[in-house]
Symmetry: C2
Subunit: 326 residues, 2 copies
């Protein structure tokens, strides 16, 4: 089986690649395990290939048809489309967000349609497709009402994937990811960047700015569980999804104050004391339009799961990243 | 004030043009009546200009940027975007539907963004954005779940208009039109074409095929009220719409059997006897995915209204089209 990951040099793309290479197999559309013979990692910068002969790295602009035609052939039976412009950047640079989050996603579906082999395609979507007057707990059938360009572009990509699936051009799945926390590395332009920063930087001995109120509720998932969910999402039976290909992934509903309390519990007062509260209206507006929790009974019936406590998430991060708490 | 109608040679476009020329004024964004000094009718065929010096007809492909740049300048303060590929044709010709229903709608918004004068833009949308497991009466915040390519393309255009409005590129409004009945003229490729045909053809002394079950519920609006709603939709205060620019227009919820009974009531048994029942699975599937009624309290608060009985709709059609019932 040949697999493609777009955004393959990114944080989730690299973790997903490592996990797929380690498992060595993926279920096919009939549920039968198949050996992964090739894994293409496409991105605008060259991805690490882990020194693995199964990996081919490709550098290119995903919004160009020739690039997608180079990485999708009629043997490419599993596609994880992770490439995206993050929320803050898509709001700041409207044209870039439209080009990558909308045009490239559509082009990917178009190339699949023209190949005609109906590959399984996983799109990642986001809490940002919701907004406006939301119920306390968002349901799977709550109306999409994005209040950011990123959310609008993701919602449009969902509609496209649904229609391309209904018509049999692809066998698509949309996984709406909670905000991923704790991400290793450095801050990025996502409005949600602080949701990792307020844990990661203090654990590294650095100050971190918290730009939103402590009562702000976030819907979080760890990198570990995100990778498990992406693979499970690709492997689940398309027929079980029915007409609606989008699934709200399980996550943890926590307030920023609860996150800080969990950091204090795991790493102590000194570490938690490195968080500086400095409200940023622009970020509060975007993050405040997202739901703080959603009903995930459908995802759970499909076999998907999240952590049970945010302290466990922090402990997992400390173990995975081999961090020495000071 | 300069006004543009896309699809200006079409049935609704021509009626709207005639009504605007007759009124001679439109409210501006501040609610003040302004004289209509120019009315551009764009379509793929040349529209009638009613021999009126205010009208300029333009022939061109609306999916080409140069065409839209020719008809939208920074004086074009009101745009009615009616051009579309109908549901049956968008299902049969996927690429054509995407090109006109999605690409052209986006291009229109893009040209407005680049002009930078934030015109008021009315998009027409449809019951076809809904589908799947629907409540008996669809609410304004029922999730969009289109089950046709036409519905998916309209839902995407709605999301685009919402985001372009939120960012201040246009002052947009989406009017979700019920199925228009009774349309004069001939059948078209819309899956809903029969909803006019089963009234119009019998009144013309011809047989008409009814391709769906008598219990099928439709959500209907007369051409008269559709035109009134388009103008009211453009004139209403954008601030009253808030974050969600789409409005479900009031209509009449009637079953096909009730439509036939109304025809019998207005025109007699002989006319109603010209309807031949001949189920068509393809059409039943598309039409059956649409809601038969929706809650329109929001539209009514905004001052929009429909007829009260389908017999009145038929009487209006007979009067408007000067039909002699035989």
């Amino acid at each position: 089986m040949k697999v493609l990951i777009t955004g393959g040099a990114g944080f989730l793309g690299q973790r997903l690649a490592r996990e797929l290479l380690s498992r060595g197999v993926l279920k096919d559309a009939h549920g039968a395990p198949q050996t992964i013979t090739g894994l293409v990692l496409l991105d605008v910068v060259r991805a690490h290939d882990f020194g693995d002969a199964r990996v081919r790295t490709e550098v290119g602009d995903i919004a160009e048809r020739s690039v997608l035609e180079r990485v999708i052939d009629d043997q490419t039976s599993a596609i994880f489309h992770l490439a995206a412009i993050v929320s803050g950047q898509a709001e700041a640079d409207f044209e870039l967000g439209m080009r990558i989050n909308l045009d490239a996603s559509r082009l990917l579906l178009e190339v699949c349609r023209q190949r005609g082999h109906q590959p399984r395609v996983v799109f990642t979507s986001s809490v940002a497709v919701y907004g406006g007057d939301l119920p306390a707990v968002v349901q799977d059938d709550t109306a999409l009402n994005p209040q950011s360009s990123y959310g609008a572009q993701k919602a449009i990509a969902e509609l496209l994937l649904n229609d391309y699936s209904r018509r049999g051009f692809v066998d698509g799945r949309v996984l709406r990811l909670p905000t991923i926390s704790v991400r290793p590395g450095r801050p990025n332009a996502a409005a949600s960047s602080f949701a990792s920063g307020i844990i990661r930087e203090p654990l590294n001995g650095e100050e971190a700015v918290c730009p939103v109120a402590g009562s702000t509720r976030l819907w979080l998932l760890s990198p570990r569980k995100a990778i498990d969910s992406l693979i499970a999402g690709l492997e689940l039976d398309g027929a079980a999804l029915g007409k609606q290909r989008a699934v709200n992934l399980p996550g943890l509903s926590v307030s920023v104050d609860e996150m800080i309390a969990a950091l204090r519990e795991v790493a102590g007062e000194k570490v938690a004391g490195r968080i500086v509260r400095q409200p940023d209206e622009r970020i509060e507006k975007i993050v405040g339009s997202w739901p703080g929790a959603w009903d995930t009974s459908r995802a759970e019936r499909l076999g998907l799961a999240a952590e049970r406590s945010f302290a466990d998430v922090i402990r997992g991060y400390i173990a995975d990243e081999d961090i020495e708490v000071r």
